[in-house]
Amino acid sequence: MIDYALNFGFICVSLALLMNLWRLTIGPTTADRILAVDTMTINAIALLVMYGIAKGTSMYFEGALLLAMFGFVSTVAYCKFILRGDIIE
């Protein structure tokens, strides 16, 4: 039963990633694109964790944790760049 649930979850997250990609493409403002990339990171974390369950290994957990950290840092860096024209002042 977990296999069916995982397949359903993979389909949901893949559709969600496609929607985020669409929002990233059409914009219309820069902030929309930043938000799209941030949401893509969150979806990718969920995808990695589900893949870890499907494969039965907890190796992908470290990847998900790294993705969570770097997604946050990159979003903040991009926003700071737009706000102040510089990242570390």
Binding site: M1, I2, Y4, A5, L6, F8, G9, F10, I11, C12, V13, L15, A16, L17, M19, N20, W22, R23, T29, T30, A31, D32, I34, L35, A36, D38, T39, I42, N43, I45, A46, V49, M50, G52, I53, G56, S58, F61, A64, L65, A68, M69, F72, T75, V76, Y78, C79, K80, I82, L83, R84
Partner: protein, 134 residues
Amino acid sequence: MPFIVELIISLLIVIGGLFLLIGSFGMLKLRELLPRLHAPTKATTVGVGGVLIASMLFFWVERGHFTIHELLITLFLFLTAPITANLIAKAYMLLNVDPHTDLPPSEQNEGWATFDPVGPEGYDPSEEYEEKES
């Protein structure tokens, strides 16, 4: 693996996947950025949270020992989501909102922080608005 545990894990994965889909659909459907910011928070909390709790339960039953390191990701996302949303809203306002027409006066000695990080000496935005109205 007992049936009831399998049922709970499957339900958590299905709920998490649905919420991730709904969050991204909301981001595509809503009209402007500020309402749009509201949608992906569902994906962050319930979506990723459900999938991570499912993973925690799965490895607990499969390996036999209980670890909470999946909760680290949830904790980290809970801590960082408000900061991210605040910074995205500030970036949007800086680029797309005119502080003189779209925002009320700040009623302080300096303007709104996003537009005026360091207020000049003796700057009074309320005078500006009074001039505009008269």
